[in-house]
């Protein structure tokens, strides 16, 4: 995927950034291994699909945000990587992903919106000719409203919106003056339950959002990662 120095420099250059937000609470135990395995195969599978389409990605970066619940244990409610270049930083990516364990969580809602806010505010690639910025959310639970749980913890993310309405404005829409993401590049893929805030307002009201309803312990199967790969490959 990295640029081939023998390639003609005038070829169109595609950059793909992907942020995987992974619910790592106890209820995800039955499916977390599948999610992790899919994540680790992501690079090779995307390459394969792109090659079959006669296409290539010039730069691929992945970032992982594992989240639990600030209301349960703020110390490990968010764990994340920077954007990692694949394949060159594949070992760092693998080490982080393999280290995610399903534990904790406390009550049913989790801190998924904090993870989403961090993802939206990621340092997305702004160069190359065409970009695809994808956030993928894996969770089996609803989310605490932003700014209501664990906000006083030292580990609580700084500078994220304090309400879902404000987060919506950061996600943005065409001609938005407040969006922090590039409208033509972004996609949000939700593997989340048919519950607030995922189904409504996010999937209902936000642009460029695909929602695949999940249930606790189900629904995060291998083919869903294929869906993400197809979504990326088909959009380039």
């Amino acid at each position: 995927m990295s640029a081939n120095i023998e390639q003609y420099q005038g070829n169109l250059q595609y950059a793909v950034d992907i942020v995987l937000c992974v619910d790592a609470t106890g209820s995800m135990f039955p499916v977390l291994d599948n999610v992790k395995a899919s994540a680790l195969q992501f690079h090779d599978r995307l390459n394969d699909v792109m090659a079959k389409k006669g296409k290539a990605i010039s730069q691929l970066r992945l970032k992982v945000i594992a989240f639990r619940d600030f209301g349960d244990d703020a110390s490990d409610a968010i764990q994340q990587t920077d954007f990692l270049h694949l394949p060159t930083q594949a070992k760092d990516f693998e080490q982080f992903v393999r280290g995610i364990d399903a534990s904790g969580g406390g009550d049913i809602p989790e801190s998924g919106l904090e993870a989403l806010a961090l993802a939206i505010n990621s340092p997305w690639e702004t160069g190359l000719d065409r970009r695809r910025h994808v956030i993928v959310m894996f969770t089996d639970a609803p989310a605490h409203p932003l700014g209501t749980v664990g906000t006083s913890a030292s580990t609580y993310p700084k500078n994220i919106p304090s309400s879902i309405d404000d987060l919506f404005e950061q996600w943005g829409y065409a001609r938005s003056q407040t969006s922090v993401m590039e409208q033509s590049a972004k996609r949000l893929v939700l593997f989340a339950p048919d519950q607030a805030p995922w189904s409504d307002p996010i999937a209902e009201e936000w642009d460029l959002t695909l929602h695949f309803a999940s249930k606790a312990g189900e629904g995060l199967e291998e083919f869903e990662m294929d869906e993400i790969i197809e979504t990326i490959a088909n959009s380039l």
């Binding site: 169109l12 079959k52 389409k53 296409k55 829409y173 959002t209 380039l236």
Partner: protein
């Protein structure tokens, strides 16, 4: 949107998919005994009618929604099914919003499984290409650029008892007025079939402005597709280049199959020229097909064999092996299938469905692959007997894409969410009544 839902009176009969869908999710549907292809746009979202606030955000979004509706209405008005040759365009029969989401509906079309168009007799090939050219001519005659012409956006149909396969063009959602394309970041197109000026436009090459993106963009893609349909492969090019257009931009000539007739070689050479103005118009393309011999393949000429080691093997867009499938089935794009075609699983089928290939098939379509790779239809696809296919969904131009999302079915815990408008407003409906072959609608 999910299987079993009723949206705007249409009951969803297949699992919605984003496969090859770009900015949409699509599925098959039925209503009053008719079979349809329904596409859910991922953008824009329409602000709720019951949200009466007057904020900058809402003003912008209301304006975006109004422009989106107007653009779709305009295209629907311009592309009339009763126009000469209009029967080869798969046009929208309905356009509406439900809640915050826009939907577009076309009739569902059964496609044939044409695995190897290159194996057809010259006369058959001529008819196939002529019907494709006629479809494109309908657009070009009114100054519209399809903008995303590729095999996945062409449905190949052969009616029972018919002697010939015909091509139907789908997915005008990325269309634009010749010379007035969307901005470089927003313009749609496929990296394999894109024209040289399209590539340079996206790269913000100062020598290419909006005025250079004309119907000639489609002619370039049609040249590649013609080569694919006649020979089974795209033209080859030096492997240093990422696409035919990149090679042409670098001043290289594409390596056309020397089995093609001299007339066809000349035509394709002109259609894939670097300068848009050097490419023939669609009428010239059609006229060139008057004699079926033009589409005949000859034994390879001595001394003209390709040098595979130095050339890339272009993707044919055909489904290749069995790639992993997805839960959604459909496909739309280039190498993949396109939404709107049948429930297939295209590149992404669901577990248990037929192995898709390439990840791109069109959902629901039968294994057709017309020259361009459409993946085999999924077994679980809606049973239509024949492969059905669906209209493309898609993408851009008309715009917005759809989002899969969420089925509206707010759970109890959504008590805090404001009530959503569930009113369906029809934004354009041609009504049914088209022939079973549809397509033209």
């Amino acid at each position: 949107m999910k299987k079993g839902d009723v949206i705007g009176g249409y009951r969803i009969t297949s699992e919605p998919t984003n496969a090859n869908g770009g900015k949409c999710i699509w599925a098959f549907a039925e209503k009053d005994g008719g079979q349809y292809f329904i596409k859910r746009f991922l953008e824009p979202k329409r602000p709720r009618d019951d949200d009466t606030r007057d904020t900058p955000s809402l003003r912008i979004r209301r304006q975006l929604a109004a422009e989106f509706e107007q653009r779709h209405r305009t295209i629907m008005e311009r592309l009339r099914p009763d126009a000469r040759g209009g029967g080869n365009l798969v046009l929208a029969t309905g356009f509406f919003h439900e809640g915050s989401t826009y939907y577009k509906v076309t009739e569902r079309i059964d496609t044939s499984s044409l695995e190897k168009p290159q194996a057809l007799e010259p006369r058959q090939k001529t008819v196939l290409l002529k019907t494709l050219g006629m479809s494109l001519k309908q657009l070009h005659d009114i100054g519209i650029v399809h903008g995303d012409l590729k095999p996945l956006n062409v449905l190949v149909q052969k009616r029972d008892g018919a002697a010939f396969h015909t091509a139907k063009l789908i997915d005008f959602d990325d269309s634009y007025v010749s010379g007035s394309p969307p901005a470089p970041d927003d313009i749609a197109g496929d990296s394999v079939y894109g024209a040289p000026e399209w590539r340079r436009y996206m790269q913000r090459d100062e020598s290419v402005g909006p005025e250079h993106l004309t119907c000639a963009v489609d002619v370039f893609a049609l040249g590649l597709m013609t080569h694919l349909y006649l020979t089974g492969e795209l033209p080859h090019h030096d492997k240093r280049y990422g696409s035919p257009a990149d090679a042409v931009n670098a001043g290289e000539q594409l390596d056309l199959d020397t089995r093609l007739s001299d007339a066809m070689l000349g035509l394709l050479r002109a259609m894939t020229a670097r300068a848009p103005g050097s490419r023939p118009r669609i009428t010239t393309f059609l006229k060139s097909l008057d004699d079926p011999k033009v589409c005949a393949l000859q034994p390879r000429r001595p001394g003209t064999s390709r040098k595979p080691s130095a050339r890339s093997t272009p993707s044919t867009g055909k489904p290749t092996d069995t790639a992993p499938r997805s839960r959604v089935k459909a496909n739309l794009t280039s190498a993949g299938g396109r939404p709107g075609t049948g429930p297939s699983t295209s590149g992404t089928g669901r577990p248990g469905t037929t192995p898709s290939t390439s990840g791109t098939g069109r959902p629901g379509t039968t294994p057709s692959t017309s020259g361009a790779g459409r993946p085999a239809a999924a077994k679980d696809a809606p049973a239509t007997g024949s492969p059905a296919h669906a209209p493309a969904t898609g993408s851009p131009a008309e715009s917005p894409a759809a989002a899969p999302s969420a089925t509206p079915a707010p759970p109890p815990s959504e008590a805090t969410s404001p009530p959503r408008s569930r009113v369906r407003i029809n934004l354009g409906d041609r009504g049914r009544g088209r022939g079973p072959t549809g397509g033209s609608s």
